[in-house]
């Protein structure tokens, strides 16, 4: 599986390797081991109930590479993110970025999660320049999920206000 992933990559790191013959070197030079780890052992793959008022769903796409990413968060009554799930269809770096994003948002408040930057994700995963847009996609997915949650909360509050009149 990592072999097929490696075949599709266009990492400039490949230019720096001296030995390209051994398959394990091809894997290492194209995808960082952290990315491979997230690809082979993804954390938090799945779906949350998007109709629940505590769940925010972020759905983003990257037209240049054709990647699609869905990230969902579940927030408790105190504004803390208690669960997160993702589903990404795209390259290994996109999958790893969204997997890491779900790990990072868990336990954070909604405001703290907004502070997660794509540069932090890219740094953690050692993404090469050509794959930086994958981390950007993950940041946008987090923001979209939070925005969706906020919108649902606002709608809820407005409904409650109308009901009390």
């Amino acid at each position: 599986m990592a072999g097929t992933v490696a075949k599709k990559c266009l990492s400039p790191l490949a230019l720096l390797t001296r030995r390209l013959s051994a398959p394990e070197f091809i894997t290492q030079c194209c995808y960082h081991k952290k990315v491979v780890d997230h690809y082979e052992n993804p954390r938090n793959v799945g779906t949350l109930d998007k109709n629940s008022k505590n769940v925010g769903t972020g759905l983003v796409g990257a037209p240049a590479c054709g990647d699609v990413m869905k990230l969902q968060i579940e927030v408790d009554d105190h504004g803390k993110i208690v669960d997160a799930r993702f589903k990404t269809f795209g390259c290994g770096s996109a999958i790893a970025s969204s997997s890491l994003a779900t790990e990072w948002v868990k336990g954070k408040s909604v405001d703290e999660a907004l502070l997660i930057k794509n540069t932090d994700i890219a740094k953690e995963l050692c993404l090469p320049p050509v794959k930086l847009h994958c981390s950007m996609l993950a940041e946008d997915a987090i923001k979209a999920a939070l925005a969706d949650y906020r919108l649902k909360q606002k709608d809820d509050q407005q409904e409650a206000a109308r009901a009390s009149i």
């Binding site: 097929t4 759905l59 983003v60 796409g61 990257a62 037209p63 240049a64 590479c65 054709g66 990647d67 699609v68 869905k70 589903k87 269809f89 795209g90 847009h133 950007m136 996609l137 946008d140």
Partner: protein, 280 residues
């Protein structure tokens, strides 16, 4: 560019009164006519117009100096390129664009910067191009340009054939598939799909993509995967027609959005192939 043409033209005196009878066409420059005057012309090419200052000095009995200045337009032979290139080997002008081989000495030429793939593959500049013609042209070019044909030639020719052959490969691969062809056509107009999230994407469209991807992921039989493949092919065919229409009308933004959609479906098509191969 200043070129000094010094000719001795001998022509009847009468002709001197009609300068137009003298050189008006480049082809007739070399014709000599019996004349009693020395004729010296200095030509100043100014774009396509050659202004000739003809100093006609009469010899013989006529001691009158006749000066005649006239403007003669002559069509200069040049190809569609901005300036004519010469063969690196024999210095003869290359009349074709793009020029693969010199017509005089048959030496292979280096690829010219900025030649579009459509020119190289001799295809009409449109989205719905004839792929059969493209393939024939590709094979025809590679038969003569492939580096294997130059193993006994000079290093320079080997290098040129290598770079030209690689360029022809790239041109063929780009123009063969509708997606890469469309993206290239946008690129020629200075547009490209930016990397990063598409903030203007239709949420319904993304939901649809997600559902197709999920269904493919969960497909348990090759038939299920094939069905998704057929559906995707249908979408791609519709998009191809829409992109063609948009590009013909010059609606670049619409074409760009449609090509982005095509990219998503092209990815799904690739995944269908992978899924089907997993079943084997």
């Amino acid at each position: 560019m200043l070129s000094y043409n010094s000719l001795r033209i001998v022509c009847p005196f009468r002709a001197l009164l009609h300068p137009n009878w003298l050189m008006t066409n480049r082809q007739t420059v070399n014709t000599t006519v019996t004349c009693s005057a020395h004729f010296v012309s200095t030509s100043f090419p100014k774009k396509d117009t050659w202004q000739r200052k003809c100093n006609l000095k009469s010899t013989g009995n006529e001691s009158k100096l006749i000066y005649s200045t006239y403007t003669a337009s002559s069509t200069r032979n040049y190809c569609t390129g901005k300036f004519k290139l010469n063969c690196w080997n024999c210095k003869q002008p290359l009349y074709e664009t793009p020029a693969f081989f010199c017509m005089a000495c048959k030496a292979v030429q280096p690829p010219e910067e900025g030649t579009s793939f459509f020119n190289i593959m001799d295809c009409d500049y449109k989205f719905s191009l004839d792929t059969q013609k493209l393939q024939k042209r590709y094979l025809h070019l590679q038969r003569s340009l492939h580096p294997d044909n130059f193993s006994q030639k000079s290093v320079k020719e080997q290098e040129y054939s290598e770079s030209y052959s690689a360029l022809v490969n790239k041109a063929y691969q780009t123009l063969l598939k509708p997606l890469s062809r469309g993206l290239y056509m946008l690129e020629l107009k200075g547009m490209r799909i930016e990397e990063g999230t598409d903030s203007g994407a239709d949420p319904e469209f993304l939901i649809e993509l997600m559902e197709i991807n999920e269904a493919l992921d969960e497909a348990k039989t090759p038939e299920e995967a094939s069905k998704i493949g057929q559906h995707t092919k249908g979408k791609l065919a519709v998009l191809t027609e829409e992109i063609d229409a948009a590009l013909l009308k010059g609606q670049l933004q619409s074409a760009k959005a449609l090509l982005a959609q095509m990219k998503y479906f092209a990815n799904i098509e690739e995944k269908v192939k992978e899924k089907l191969s997993e079943f084997m």
